[in-house]
Symmetry: C2
Subunit: 666 residues, 2 copies
């Protein structure tokens, strides 16, 4: 290796980043001007990748958890030959460019995870690493080591300060995920100043407490980085973290190691001085010296044979293990059987009366039979959320063959790990907890929506009717706050059949995450003239019953267990001509053609009632500003369900009374 050329290559990463941020007049030069040395080592000596096939299933993954430092990644993607051109770098942070202000999954080739909200990438990497172990356990056979990839991640002090890093690191340490090599960019500078102002953790000791393998190096010593990464790779029974002490804006004469270099362009003067200090040409900007491309592209070139060999191995595997190969293909495609909804409806039809969480727990067994990619678990609430898969085992230290994952009391970490399983490209993962604790994992849920991941969020105990646990556990505003999130499908089924349809919709939502909201309390089935009517739930809303002759004066819209309350109420209302609409999902409904929507909610019937044990916020969309909202606009209370039902006005006779008054204009 030509020593000078290597240094030149490292400086190229740095200066491309500086120039791009300078041109954009916006960005974070700190990370790319401090992390370039060990990043160079990862990308030229360890990472297994093929820029021509960014989806290579057994590629190693590099996750930039510190997403604000994305120019480091974009520079590397460009230099190593991904589809990111020098022109793209010049368009950093501009409208429509391939190089947005933080990395976006699905937008830029080679970006493995959407990062920027700190700590998400840290947890995603652990999910992606777990996926490698689970795929190996399920598919590798003697002579066929199909899956053995490693996850490298660059994590910053911000990532480590975030609570999600604790949850995910503890989880990874517990499972002994040996295919993790995290590089902690210990630059000790954050926006607010030196990290000493806020944090004096002994990071090494902390990660030892989680059971990680820990090393500390000078992050600018590339030989030390190479040795440490090799050591980390050699430790296969524990995750590894390497504390890399770095200095931001290295070689910048005045901004070296200063907070000013963290998140603002260095400025023309400082950039010029930095180039001078490095012996770098002042012009042109975005300069890539001779030989640098060859150096960066030598590794992917040398890996091409490995890529070919892997594909050949897969071909031989199809011959040797046709059933397994079929299962693998099914997972990679992730396609739902055409008759999924019918089969789940059949399952639902055979169930005894239960809560929708109970129905969900049984229906998901059928889903698991049909969709080999379905894996998941809960945040220590398996018995309460009913989310343990049968006929399989639980993932445990050294044993990754099962499909159940015990996430521990770590909702946010669960969110990040579930998203990581989805990012891997293999799984349809689910994560479960109480609905009120969706708040704890909202950061991850948002990223799942933004990245279009197929994560399934199962949130049970979906209303005040959970009862005795009281207001800290009772969702009120959550339905509205989840419905408001773009690209998140939110479904709250009423009974067994609707729960089956909710699961079918979740599997059919291939380009977005789904939230399944399930009840703690019993949910007797709706009275339907024809059980097949429940398939209307796939369209988000459907008519459960209509006034005789179809001439209704009022439409009663309800969701979840409240649909049955409303149905019981309407039985008490002689003389009121009402249509009852079950509306488990706004977003599924809003994806229907106008004709269908108008057929369910005819614009001519302007009297509308909503029955939902949650905030009325947003329901004016369907009920109008003058509609009757039988909802809850305050926090809940601790009492047995029946008492709460009365206190909050959800007994069928109370509902009937209010509808009657409303229709009569009282």
């Amino acid at each position: 290796m030509n020593r000078n050329l290597e240094q030149t290559a490292v400086d190229t990463i740095k200066m491309l980043s500086v120039d791009a941020i300078e041109k954009a007049k916006s960005g974070h030069p700190g990370l790319p001007t401090g992390a370039m040395d060990y990043a160079y080592v990862v990308w030229t000596k360890f990472l297994r990748f093929n820029p021509k096939d960014p989806a290579w299933p057994n590629r190693d993954r590099f996750v930039l958890s510190a997403g604000h430092g994305c120019m480091l990644l974009y520079s590397l993607l460009h230099l190593t030959g991904y589809g990111v051109s020098l022109e793209d770098l010049k368009e950093f942070r501009q409208a429509g460019s391939l190089t947005p202000g933080h990395p976006e999954f699905g937008h830029t080739p080679g970006v493995e995870a959407t990062t920027g909200p700190l700590g998400q990438g840290f947890a995603n990497g652990i999910g992606i690493a777990l996926a490698s172990k689970m795929m190996a356990a399920r598919f590798n056979r003697p002579g066929f080591d199909l899956f053995d990839y490693t996850v490298y991640a660059l994590v910053s002090d911000g990532d480590l300060m975030e609570g999600i890093s604790h949850e995910a690191a503890s989880f990874a340490g517990h499972l002994g995920l040996g295919n993790i090599v995290y590089l902690f960019d210990d630059n000790r500078i954050s926006i607010g100043g030196s990290t000493d102002i806020t944090c004096t953790d002994d990071a090494a000791r902390r990660f030892e407490a989680y059971g990680w393998h820990v090393q500390s190096i000078d992050g600018h010593d590339r030989a030390a980085a190479e040795k440490a990464i090799a050591s980390a790779r050699a430790v296969t029974d524990r995750p590894s973290i390497i504390v890399c002490r770095t200095h931001i804006a290295k070689d910048a004469p005045t901004k070296h190691d200063t907070p000013g270099a963290h998140g603002e362009p260095l400025g023309a003067e400082e950039t010029a001085a930095m180039k001078k200090a490095l012996g770098w040409p002042a012009e042109p900007a975005f300069f890539v010296p001779d030989g640098v491309y060859d150096l960066f592209r030598a590794r992917p070139k040398s890996l091409e044979a490995e890529h070919v060999a892997w594909n050949e191995l897969l071909s031989r595997y199809r011959q040797a293990h046709p059933e397994l190969a079929a299962e693998l293909d099914a997972m990679l495609e992730g396609r739902a059987p055409a008759d999924l909804a019918d089969r789940l409806l059949e399952t639902a039809g055979a169930l005894d009366a239960d809560a929708t969480r109970g129905y969900g727990g049984k229906i998901m067994q059928t889903v698991a039979d049909l969709m080999p990619g379905l894996v998941g678990g809960s945040a220590d609430l398996e018995p309460s959320t009913k989310t343990l898969l049968k006929d399989t085992t639980s993932v445990a230290t050294g044993d990754f063959a099962g499909r159940n994952i015990h996430f521990g009391i770590r909702e946010h970490g669960m969110g990040g790990v579930v998203n990581g399983l989805a990012y891997s490209g293999f799984f349809i993962p689910y994560g479960a907890t109480f609905m009120v604790f969706s708040d704890y994992m909202r950061g991850s849920v948002r990223v799942s929506a933004l990245s279009g991941l197929r994560s399934i969020w199962i949130w049970t105990h979906d209303s005040i009717f959970l009862g005795e646990d009281g207001p800290t556990h009772e969702p009120i505003e959550h339905l509205a706050s989840l419905r408001a999130m773009p690209n998140l499908s939110v479904i709250r089924p009423a009974d067994a059949a609707e729960t089956a349809m909710a699961w079918a919709a979740a599997i059919q939502n291939t380009d977005r995450p789904t939230a399944l909201l399930l009840s703690r309390q019993k949910a007797p089935s709706l009275d339907l003239d024809d059980p097949a009517m429940a398939k209307g739930a796939l369209k988000g809303a459907y008519v459960v019953q209509d006034a005789p002759g179809g001439q209704s004066d009022v439409i009663v819209i309800a969701t979840g267990t409240e649909v049955r309350f409303a149905q019981d109420a309407l039985k008490m209302l002689d003389g009121v001509k009402a249509r009852l609409v079950s509306m488990p999902s706004w977003d599924l409904f809003e994806r229907q053609p106008k004709e269908y929507r108008d057929s369910v909610l005819p614009p001519g019937i302007t009297k509308r009632v909503v029955v939902e044990a949650a905030s009325p916020f947003g329901w004016e969309r369907y009920a109008g500003a003058d509609g009757l909202m039988i909802c809850i606009d305050r926090f809940g209370a601790s009492a047995p369900m029946k008492d709460l039902q009365k206190q909050f006005g959800f007994l069928p006779e109370q509902i009937a009374g209010r509808i009657g008054e409303y229709v009569r204009g009282a």
Copy 2:
């Protein structure tokens, strides 16, 4: 001490808890049947309290972070003489009782924090302890040690698994808060089974990494607990945690140490067998043996003199330090000056054009002058959120005199600590970060609303107009999701004057938290006929301008920086008779009388337009289902603001075009 009586007293805690849960047929017996020994030691040998004055400012605080174990606390409150009767214990988890399913602040005397969502109490305790240090630094003078209280908290494995515990523990360790004694109930059982299934952290090592003083004991050895707590108290430069190894359902013959005992009643048979094993009378339930009350009440009785002495000390302090005493009284009362709004409006009037975050940063200096209880900081975003108070210092290790707090990159921890500062009863605390990261702290925000705390959440970068940072940083659904939360006041001001009113409203919101949503980009002042019109913002919405003669055909409602966009748009619309309404706060508006609301939004004008760079979700309430929503129903993008303004249709000419079409019915 009579050894037998002490054991009897401990068993009374345990059996009252078991009986109450049994009677309620619901609850978590695990914690109270494992933690009673060291809890007894805290309450009878260390805690400084007076049940007759639960608000005694210098009392020690006991926080039950593991709120599901609340029967332990209710039993202790009853036995030590708080206003919780035996009848109240019999009403555990029933409608309207003093003993709800999780502890609720402001509801039950002696409950210092609303807990149940795990980890919140852990962080609250740290805020309450920080408040002690800050009060001491500000008010203690030679001979007047007014403030020196200690915070004891019972924390569970669930609390420690949650990420917020990492954030808050790291923060407390950094600041060296020596007045913290946390007792970790290491019972190794969670709902899902043994904690070994999910967690193998070395908790002691972890807390050492944070700089805490750590001890480990047998949690059933009361002498060891007494010694350890005394040692913890003696360490004054670091927080302390004592790992108490306990066994849940101790003395229950079959459910001892089992997950089944964690969260379900033990059952009649097991309860009877447990009583038999303890030599406890089978009947009556809720039995308190002779001498037990005396034993528990001996300590508060002995502390009465200390309580009297403290009040006398305060009286002498008023004489010796009248100015400080006046400041202290102002903080305890927390009353805003009658002319607050006018004074803030005056400050605003003198400001140069800036972003609303910039206005906010300047206006809050005046607020700080007027309200000595105002303290706070940001999650490593002081320069971006403009939230550093001037003329004061920053809280730092060993120096708690300042009013600025550097929370680090720990949004959720910040939320919990800010709430703790509010729970202390002294401060009006604020916590700041980017609006999109309100997601990271939503768990704490919800508790602030549920507890009616006076926490102020400052969230800047309140729309896609933050620009280059892109969709990971751009709030879309957050406005709706925050407006949907009960008891949270949400205010998004348009300019300097409205920002002043937003701050005035925040201070006047004495029974609820406030969210201030502020812009990154410049917010030129609205054109108002009279600057005093901006005081309409205090009512949530007001008319900015009307069609000549007051006969408008359409009402344009806007918030934040979009009000000015709309005003500029209307200037381009000849012939359209429009009223422009600025609506910085839905909840303030909804608290106004109907007459006022109808005067701002006359029901007769049904054509409505909303201009807000966020999800339209919920706006049908004011715009009707057929209103024109100039909003954003997708995720944002990374580009300079001007480009995004055009891309998303928020240039004044674009807004004008759409309003014109809408009014003309195109």
